[in-house]
Amino acid sequence: MTQITGRCLCGAVRFSTPGPVLWAGHCHCDSCRRATSAAFTSFFGVPRASVTWTGAMSAHATSGGTVTRRFCMACGTQMTYEADIWPEETHLYASALDDPSHFRPEAHYHYAERLPWVQITDDLTKHPASADPA
């Protein structure tokens, strides 16, 4: 199987995973928006044990310590979102992929939190919050 590979802006942190991609989409929640400092975040989930890492990352805990976001210590690029409620998953960012054109979004998440000037015209599923029940 072709490996899914990616890197941070400076290239110090790299990941590789055979997948599979469990889901893929755009997140409009406030914390993803702030962590990536963008209008919304495009990311996908893979099995946590499948990901091989190189390079040094810092970790930042949010949501009362139930979520960990890791980023490159040298350039700051966000690399992972990991939540205690999905212990088998690591969420990776589409923009960190070596070839982001391979990303295939299937849905929007936390669509109720989207910014008013973000115009979405696609036919993807719009989840008002997470796709999973709280």
Partner: protein, 94 residues
């Protein structure tokens, strides 16, 4: 969003990252949040990342730039002004 750096006040530690000697992308060393892009090409401007605003709904973008590099899956509204690149290179290609 671009503004005059003379009007910008920064509190708290930040870490600069220079992808090239002429460009700067600073971030919070505690959580990694990207704060801005700066380039010696435009010394009188700092480009703040809109997702860092306390209220990001306040400033709707007026154009899309670098659309020559647009990724097909990234939503982009029709009818907004766009530019395939910059009139001058941003000096961030190593």
């Amino acid at each position: 969003m671009g503004l005059d750096p003379a009007h910008l006040t920064v509190a708290g530690p930040l870490q600069d990252y220079r992808h090239t000697p002429a460009s700067s992308r600073a971030f919070c060393p505690s959580c990694g949040t990207r704060l801005w892009f700066r380039s010696d090409r435009w010394p009188g401007e700092v480009f703040l990342n809109v997702g860092t605003l306390d209220d990001p709904s306040r400033f709707a973008p007026g154009c899309h730039v670098m659309t020559a590099d647009h990724i097909s899956w990234a939503p982009m509204p029709e009818g907004v002004p766009e530019a395939a690149g910059f009139d001058q290179p941003p000096m961030e290609v190593p």
